[in-house]
Symmetry: C2
Subunit: 631 residues, 2 copies
């Protein structure tokens, strides 16, 4: 028999079961109209997934339960499988709150058709607790439940028998991480297949990460092949966040046949249906659509940032954005992205020059604003800066114990930061409120790594759109915007070639000096500190340097390391300098930084969790340092 299945790749709004429920009902109606036998819906499509500690509100769970039941009731003439929270009153989580499961419900003709031992739903077995995931914080796993009740978890992993037009089909229903079996001692999909599943269904709420779709295709394809049955992956679209990180959900729902071939997949970020048919006699798959293209960098980065930013602004009700425009690449790309998302008429670009800003960058800022057709203003900060310096250096401070007075002295660094805060906190924050909407944080990931930015100066704004991409990715995104999106040079060519500079003092001006970060090297060094699966530390860096494998390990150009660092001493001093900042003061800055749109496999925020500590250098680091310096 041919069984028609639809993946409902719907947009889920976290924290709003009242908004998700009508979307789900509409999907059920539409799937029924399209004569689907089974409608699959994503994990946690009723409550949303990343909702922080909202899980501790009993009244929130009341509503989720109510909507779960309404969805079950609506499953007339169709089988609906959907992910949601299940509450088991009378049992407790280990935190003493009511027992909750990350569950998959299967319903048909108004009744549930899944479950075991008094549970009317399938319970997630593998619970992710890395990156942004906190499953154990809120949910009880199937493994724990089985241990508690004296069952073997393997016995619990049984496929559901679903009656479709008089014929039984056995479906192995699982949730997201259950399919990412690499490091769990229990292999959920293969166990379900061994127990007779004819089709594996993975309901997911899985955020976009650069490169993850290809990894999932490899992994899920291998699973289907090993199990010898088809596998379908049903994911949602939309955005969810953990406070510090905005994650995009790219959908990309996919169907793999029993030999592991990817047969069809849904378009990235589309609120859409993916339809396919399973032949129960041989498990073969047919589908009206083929595989949707997976974009490469920088297109993939553009798509994720554009989608995520657009959705985030809509969620926050932000229709206009103000951006401080320095004439450098980060603010240029940010401005072009917002013009693309909101329309240039809703973008206010402000150039805020001091005596240290060159004609070059001021002109570049204007050219960019002009080519975008955005709103543009120039507000100098010199008078305010001078007033602040004067107030601070002439106001008498009196020690009211001794009666003695003194005045404050301002170092160059203090004066640099005064300028940055004058721009961000005095002008941009107020101008953006007056213009309507919010303002942007233009920091990239390299600056964020080492805190090369000023508290309340450029570390501020509603969203750090570029906060999870490195400087070289910012340049690539800028080129992509010119070439593909705008198809003209909206970002002036010189912005790509000028040496980056903060222009905050005589030492930091265009032409004379620039950023202390040499991006073709430091982008990759800093990336290894945060993105490497086993976090790289200075000891690793010195070990690789000594072995001559550093460039290969970091993924940067071979020659650059020797070009920048004539001696091992220079090299080591540089590693120490940035590590002290990375593991030290920059953590304090990130704690107060705006949310970051997450793109890579590890973004700053609650994806990569940090305590404020004093920087640590390991024993091996000191040994290697001594060896290298004495060589």
């Amino acid at each position: 028999m041919q069984i028609k299945i639809i993946c409902g790749q719907i947009e889920v709004t976290p924290g709003r079961p009242d908004l998700n429920f009508p979307k789900i009902l509409a999907a059920i109606d539409k799937a029924r109209t399209q004569k689907a036998d089974i409608l699959l819906l994503p994990e946690m499509c009723v409550p949303g997934y990343l909702i922080g500690d909202l899980w501790e509100q009993e009244t929130y769970l009341d509503d989720c339960e109510y909507y779960n039941n309404e969805i079950i009731k609506a499953s007339k003439d169709i089988c609906v499988m959907f992910g949601s929270v299940a509450r088991e009153v009378g049992k407790l989580n280990e935190d003493g709150r009511v027992r909750k499961y990350n569950a998959a419900f299967a319903a048909q003709n108004g009744k549930v058709v899944a479950g075991y031992w008094g549970h009317d739903y399938v319970i997630k077995t593998s619970m992710p607790n890395y990156r942004e995931f906190d499953d154990y914080r809120h949910f009880y796993s199937l493994t724990k439940l089985c241990a508690e009740e004296g069952h073997d978890v393997v016995d619990a992993l049984q496929p559901l028998s679903i009656n479709i037009r008089g014929e039984e089909i056995r479906i192995g229903l699982m949730l997201c991480e259950d399919g990412w079996t690499e490091n769990y001692y229990l292999n959920v999909p293969q166990t379900l297949a061994k127990h007779g599943a004819q089709l594996l269904c993975n309901l997911s709420c899985s955020p976009y990460t650069l490169g993850k779709n290809r990894k999932r295709n490899r992994l899920f394809s291998a699973q289907a092949k090993e199990a010898g049955v088809p596998l379908v992956y049903c994911n949602n679209v939309g955005i969810q966040n953990n406070g510090k990180n905005i994650f995009t959900y790219d959908g990309c729902s996919s169907v793999y046949n029993s030999t592991g071939e990817l047969i069809t997949s849904a378009e990235m970020y589309a609120d859409t249906f993916l339809e396919f048919t399973v032949d129960t006699t041989d498990g073969s798959i047919s589908a009206p659509t083929t595989v949707a293209a997976l974009p490469e960098e920088p297109e993939s980065v553009y798509k994720a940032i554009r989608y995520g930013t657009d959705k985030f602004l809509k969620q926050c009700g932000i229709k206009k954005m103000t951006i401080g425009l320095s004439g450098g690449i980060d603010s240029a790309v940010t401005a072009a992205m917002y013009a693309d998302i909101l329309g240039p008429e809703n973008v206010l670009l402000l150039n805020l020059p001091s005596q240290y800003n060159s004609e070059t960058t001021k002109n570049l800022a204007y050219q960019l604003a002009k080519s975008l057709g955005a709103n543009y203003g120039v507000i100098p900060i010199s008078q305010s800066f001078e007033h602040t310096v004067e107030q601070l250096t002439t106001t008498p401070i009196t020690n009211l114990g001794s009666g003695q007075s003194f005045t404050l002295e301002l170092s160059t660094l203090v004066k640099e930061n005064i300028q940055a805060r004058d721009r961000g906190a005095r002008i941009i924050a107020a101008a953006s409120a007056a213009f309507g909407g919010a303002f942007s944080c233009n920091s990239n990931k390299a600056e964020t790594s080492v805190g090369y930015a000023t508290f309340y100066g450029d570390i501020c704004g509603a969203l750090a759109m570029l906060g999870d991409i490195w400087k070289h990715q910012v340049y690539a995104l800028g080129k992509y915007l010119n070439e593909v999106i705008f198809q003209r040079e909206v970002i002036p060519a010189e912005i790509f070639t000028i040496r980056p500079s903060a222009e905050l003092s005589d030492a930091q001006t265009v032409g004379k000096g620039g950023d202390p970060l040499v991006y073709p090297y430091h982008d990759y060094l800093l990336r290894s500190f945060i993105e490497n699966w086993h976090k790289t530390t200075p000891a690793d860096v010195l070990r690789w340097y000594k072995a001559g494998t550093l460039a290969k390990e970091l993924g940067c150009e071979e020659k650059i390391i020797d070009e920048i660092f004539p001696t091992a001493a220079d090299f080591i001093a540089d590693v120490e300098r940035w590590w002290r900042l990375f593991a030290g003061f920059s953590v304090a800055k990130r704690i107060q930084a705006p949310p970051i749109l997450s793109i890579t496999k590890r973004s700053f925020g609650y994806d990569h969790r940090e305590a404020q500590l004093t920087p640590y250098f390991s024993r091996e680091f000191y040994q290697l340092k001594e060896e290298l310096l004495n060589k």
Copy 2:
């Protein structure tokens, strides 16, 4: 036989095994000198506990392992039991990283004397995953290990047989949460006792929380009594943080005898030893010291804030603090606390008046600074404010698409925020850097709950010392400072009686108007949203209001609710107003807020995790609202 045991209530520095190791060695030497048979040391005393994702650095684990082994080697003529991380190379955590356990090591004469199935240590069974705890993120539990290896976890929970001067004593060794058995299906201490433990030892890394010591005394006392054997609780001192929250560790190591009586306890926050003797024939306990007093509020709050702030400043290398002084209670208490901690000579108090500031508050600010004998300066913001308003309202903004120009208009709210940012970001941030050190965030928990503060204006600074106490607790702390700490009126009496006001516009001035929060009610309403174990939501509030039990449920005065809200409509509108802020825009503000010193059972930050969502009102809320309005 009499066995002498010492609890080493040492200060642990998170992220610094190099600093913890010599402290541990010194403790071993000292305990040996004092002829102790057994030295107990806290959980995770080598690596620290709250170190974020530092657990993912292999080189960090290398060093922890090295120091673990060195401590084991140092256990000559003494048995040392200490908590640390154990790494099991060749096995993986579920995240694919190397397997790590939260472990307790027991060593004697240079060798380990604990363990099972190839593990030379005791593994934590109950893993906390609520509040600031992320145990499952990093550690594999004994339960999981047993499931994986096909052992019954109950069989693994065996006491250690320790030979003391020729006689065996069986010690039930466990880690922190293992003793908080309320909601775990496995009761670790009773299982150990059933298996013959003569003494239960709980090694902990347990932060201070208001009221927790009394709860632990109840719980642990009941455990000792039920088990019929003595129980010792060994906790560390110091501070640890998760980025957003600074936790203090108060020690309070305690010994309960076999009838559940608390025999002796160590002084709060003291880096000290707690000594006692167990008689192996009858399990009786004797100790040279008695039970240390547990302070009541506000003394306990004072102690925690003072200790935590002092340690945090030392860790950050901050020796001087700048505080913006408004003449209100929050900045007054903050200033007095810093004067107490750092000495008034290291405190700079700045009064930053605009046209809206009254002579009353300006005088109060001066009086306070004078009575503290701190450094004091007055820097008006009027000129800068006017300049900002002028720049923003006269600078032409040109739409470079259409060529049309316009100017911005500033609302009252925008002008209020300009003043707040002028104080915080323009003056205080710069002045504090020039003075040396950092500046303070003076927000209390009520303001933080609803975001009654300005981004980059008063939501800024190195630490929100009062960020986890409510307005009524701030007043109580202020009184305590005057009466007990300074023993004179350092905080002028009028600061306690004046109605709080932001003094940012004509409507918000002393005498004419004040804060929109009526603290004797809103303190308690907002507290229920965050601190109630089952988070209170507007539906709960309306249900209680309808039932006439609201004041009792919130813990506020009975009459105040009817005094403030003449009608149900007024009451509901107020709940809606603050809930929209609590669950809405204030989350965005908290995401960028400074770290908070944690005091209560739930503090904003990463203790209470939040996503930026749109506020949700449940179905029951709308039903109750309709009922109440139609009554």
